[in-house]
Each structure stands twice: as C-alpha cells, then as structure tokens.
C-alpha cells in the first residue's frame, strides 16, 4: 500500500487530465526563461544568479576572510620580514616563504624572496593574520580568483598578493631607522 502523506494532493478532474497542468507549468518556466534571456540579451540583469567568476558578490561582510593581502611599507617594499610565523601556525601548511638577506637595509635585513599560498588547500581560518608580528599579512573581504584548470594555478605568489595596497594602512607611523654604527665593515 502506498504511504499516505499529510499533504497529499487532492486532484480533481482537471488535474487528473494531466496534460493541461503540464502545459501550464511549462508556460510558467518558459516565460521566466524568455524574460531573463531577453533581459540578458539587452544587457540587463535578469535572474538573481551571480555570473561567477566574471561577477563576484558585492555583499561580502567586512570581516569576511577572503584573499590574503601582503601589506607594503611606505616605500612599496613588502612589510613581511619572512619570519615564517604564518607558515608555522598555518593548520593547512599552505604558506611557503623563502627568505633573502639584504645587508643594505639596516632595519629589515630579512625579506621574502618568494611568498606563496596554495589556495587549493587554504582553509581561510585567518590564523596567519593573527600570528603575523609585523601586520604584513591581512585578508581582504573579497575571495581570491580561484577557478583554475589545475592545482598549480592555485598557487598565488608575492606579486599577486602585493598588488592590493590599502590606502589607509601605509599612513601608520614607522619607527625611526636605527643609527648607523661607524665601526666595522659590512659583507
């Protein structure tokens, strides 16, 4: 015996005829489709669908943890000192940093030569931002441009992460450079 549901449809003769109701349903669906298609062809937005990835949502919350941003110093160099705190704390181990040595910059002798994040494994937890002692890594509310054909394309490097420069951030005061020490030569 077929199971009886509480909202069992009560069908009259018209519904039991089957075909008229089917055609009515097709007319509703088709109407919506044609209307959206017409709007789309004339350059207007029909359905509420977001045309991802060409179009991204505008209503991300300000606190949304999206794509990483490497902040810059006033002179445009990355604020990162390649201390690897973010890479160490990262639960997905997606951050890889290769450090370089710049003896000419007294205050920041260590800098990142390579800074890469694998977005195919990133869990967007934000611990890297918490761990950073230099406020060098932040997360924008916009998500990264993820769709790709292979996992290697999901590695974003220093150039991609540095391109966004928050205008309000560079204004913060920097400590004065340490005094030059006269004795001793340098490598």
């Amino acid at each position: 015996m077929r199971k009886q549901y509480w909202n069992e449809a009560e069908m009259g003769l018209w519904e039991r005829a089957y075909l008229p109701e089917i055609l009515r349903g097709l007319a509703i669906t088709g109407g919506v489709f044609v209307r959206n298609m017409f709007k789309w062809m004339t350059g207007r937005k029909g359905a509420l669908t977001t045309y991802y990835p060409e179009e991204t949502r505008w209503d991300y919350a300000p606190a949304n943890r999206g794509k990483h941003v490497l902040t810059r110093r006033a002179d445009g160099s990355p604020q990162c000192v390649a201390c690897n705190m973010c890479a160490t704390v990262c639960p997905a181990k997606v951050i890889e940093i290769e450090a370089g040595f710049d003896p000419a910059d007294e205050a920041h002798p260590k800098y990142p030569v390579r800074f890469e994040i694998d977005y195919s494994r990133c869990v967007f937890c934000g611990l890297c931002v918490e761990a950073c002692p230099e406020d060098a890594i932040r997360m924008a509310k916009e998500v990264p441009d993820l769709p790709a054909h292979d996992r290697w394309s999901m590695w974003l490097g220093k150039e991609e992460l540095l391109e966004w420069q928050p205008q309000g951030d560079v204004a913060k005061p920097y400590p004065p450079p340490p005094p030059r020490v006269p004795n001793g030569d340098r490598p």
């Binding site: 000192v81 201390c83 040595f101 003896p103 007294e106 390579r114 890469e116 001793g184 340098r186 490598p187």
Partner: protein
Amino acid sequence: MPRLTIDGREIEAAAGRTVMEAATDAGIFIPYFCWHPKLSVPGNCRICVVGVEDKGGEWVEIACNMPVTEGMVVYTNSEKVRARRKATMQFITLNHPVDCGICDKAGECTLQDYHYEYNGERSISVDAKAHATKHYSLSPRIVLDNERCIQCTRCVRFTREISKSNGLGMQNRADHSLVRAVEDGSFANDPYSDNVIDICPVGALLSRSFLHKARVWYLKPTASVCPGCSRGCTVNLWHRRPEWRLRAPGMRAQNETIDRVTPLENPAVNGPWICNKGRDIAKVLGRARAETAMLKGRPAELQGAIAQARSLIAAARKPVAVVSSWASNEELAAFKAALGARFSVLVKADHEPEPGEVVQDDILIRADKNPNTAGARALFGEAPLALPPDADLVLVWGEGLDFGLIPAGAKIVYLNAWLQPENGHADVFFPTSIQTERDGHYTNFAGVTSAFTQCFPRPAGVADAQALFAALAGQAGGGE
C-alpha cells in the same frame, strides 16, 4: 672524595671538580651561557648562580667556578637563586635586540629558552638599547651580529683553546665590547671556525651558507657520519622535515637536500666539533647523480645490465675488483660474500686531498680523505693499488680511479653514484646509492665504527649495491 648535597640529593664528586661539573655528572641541570664542558671557565655570564647554605643563611655564587667542598649544601632553585637569575637575564638582555623573528638561532637559542624558563618578563629598563654593528663579516663563512652578542667569549676561547688559531678577540669594554677577528686573517683560515656558530648561545654568529635558509623547526637532524676524511666524525645532517616539505611548483628538489651539517657529539671520535669541510659536505653529496644503468655509454634497463655483467663475470679468466673506500661495511661484506671468491680485490682511495685543503692536523683532520678505508682494508687486505696487466675484467666500484690504469682490452664493470665522464667508458655501468640514501656503518682509522642513517629515498633507477652484488653473483633478487 668530598660529599655534597645538591637540591637535597647527596652526591660524591672528585676533589677539584666544580659544582657545575658535579651537578652535570649527577644529571642536575644548572643553566649556563659562557661555561662549556670543553672550554676554560671565564665565569662572566653569572647565570649559573647557585645558593650555598651557610650558618643557617644562604649565599649565592657561580657554580661553574666553585670547587666542591666536603659537606657543601647547594640549592639550584631557591628563591634567592631565582631572583638572582631573573636579574641576570634582565641584565644580559638589556641591549639584546629581541629580533627572534628574523634570527636563525630562534628555536634552538639558549637565550630564548632561558628567557622563558628564568625571566619571562619584558625588559624593565627605561633606557634606549645600545646599538652595535649588524651583519659584520667576521670571515667569508661567518656573519656576526654584535647587537645579539652577549659577550660570553665562548668563540674567543674556542679559537684559543681548541682550534689554536687565536683568530678572535674582544675589543673595547662593557656596552662597547665587540668580538672581532685578528687582522692577520687567521680566523678566516681556521679550518674549525664554524664550530663557533654552534657554541654561540645566541644568534650572534651565523653561518653565511645557512643564513635565512630555513627556520630550524622546519628541519630534522639525521645522525650520520662525515665522509670527508678517515676520522669519520659523527654529524647531524639537517634536512626538511617530511611534514614541512615544500610543495610549491619547482620546489620539490629542496626537500631532498642537506640544509646544514652540525656535529653530533661523540667522545670516542670527534667530541662536539667538526671541521669546515664537514660543514660543506652537502656540496660533495649534492653533486649531479647518475640515475640510469648503461651499456657502453647507452642507457639500458637495470636487469639487462645485470645480465650483461653476469655474462662478463662468467667469461672472465682473471677478474679484478677495485672496491670503494666510501662503501659501508655492510656493502663491503655483501661484496665479499657474493663476489669475493671470484675476484682478486684491491682497495682504492675514492678521494685525494684537494688543493688548498688542510691535509692533516693534530685535531681532527686526517690525510686519508675517505671514510671507510679501514673497513675495506680489514676485509680485503692492504695490497697496494696495482692492476695486474693480464686482468681481462675490472670491476670498479666508486669514483676516483684513473681509467688509464686499466689494462687495454680489459672489460670494465663500473659502479658509481655520480654523473661523471668515466661512466660512459665502462662496458657495463650501474648507478649506486649514496650515503644519505641508505643505512650503514663506517670504520674510521682508529677502528671505531659509527652508524649513518638514511635521510632521503633512493632515486628511481639507482641500484642498491648490496642487492646488486647478490644479483651479479646469481643469487635471487634484482638490483632494485
């Protein structure tokens, strides 16, 4: 022998021993910066203070320079001692830049550890920190950061007492004191100079080759034996931890390279030191590898090469083998068991001293630049390397043999790990594994046997010498 009590434990120590030595022997830990078991006692860091009970009261004194006396009662963790240690830590870190984030020593730094253990507070000083030279080039191998230096003078004493180069000294006094190299370049020419990097309790002395290469917690030490000379110093080979392996495109090879080499303390062989050549042994082990078997210079399948070598061995009337002094005892024993009866065996030196290298000294470095000559000679005798002119098959194992010495017309079976021009001149060539790809033992010139362990997987196509010899002798199992 005086009996004394340390933290309520009654211990016995030889007369003349210091409280530090007595405590260390009994397994009681007293913190120290400037003290080092192999160096003299300067008593300048004052962190090893202990309390000594006296007439119901307690006075504090440094443990490293205080001889044990009968009935002494010592406290290593009394309230007075803790307060004194904390004050000492505040003093030592007074001008320390606390740039642990960019310091290569962070993670294995004594100052960092002691700060958490004995101080744990911010600096109470209101004065600005004194600045000093950053990145001073102490020698072509070592960079000195004077701001991080705590003037313990361990490095200075090392060059005076251990390496005897007298290459380092202190300039000026107090806040202005600086470790500097002597101007005659004796520190740059000191073949043991890199040991000061290890004994530096802070990140002041840094290896230029390891500078900012990796944070130390990404690396893992694997116990090994330095193949640089017949001393066979035990070393730690530091390489990327498997859980921290690099995955970015193009970075995979980095996971299977040796990032640095440090001594592994071994009183029977090298104590806590190794020479600079041992530090650079990654250059020797990291050379381009041969990874395919070859027949007369043409790439071949390993099984096909084994079959060809077996027929050559079977057909030979006077086969001679020249075995490697870089082979492990296990491989040499496998060779002797499988092929020792068929071949007359000679031992060769794979490496000769290079121009400019310290050939031999009375500290560690030995003239024989091969790790297992003693092990090979113990199995195959002391016969000099002279190939009989009527030899018609020569099996050469390892690099370093001049192929011009092989009698013309003799077939050559060659086993080598490196990519070298001789490989193509052999009738049959087998690529073999290197030390970092297998476990084994070396016996040094004095007969002390030390073990090394595998760090990296064996590359595909490279034969394991032990299995290869069994296969060549016709026993079961291939070279893989």
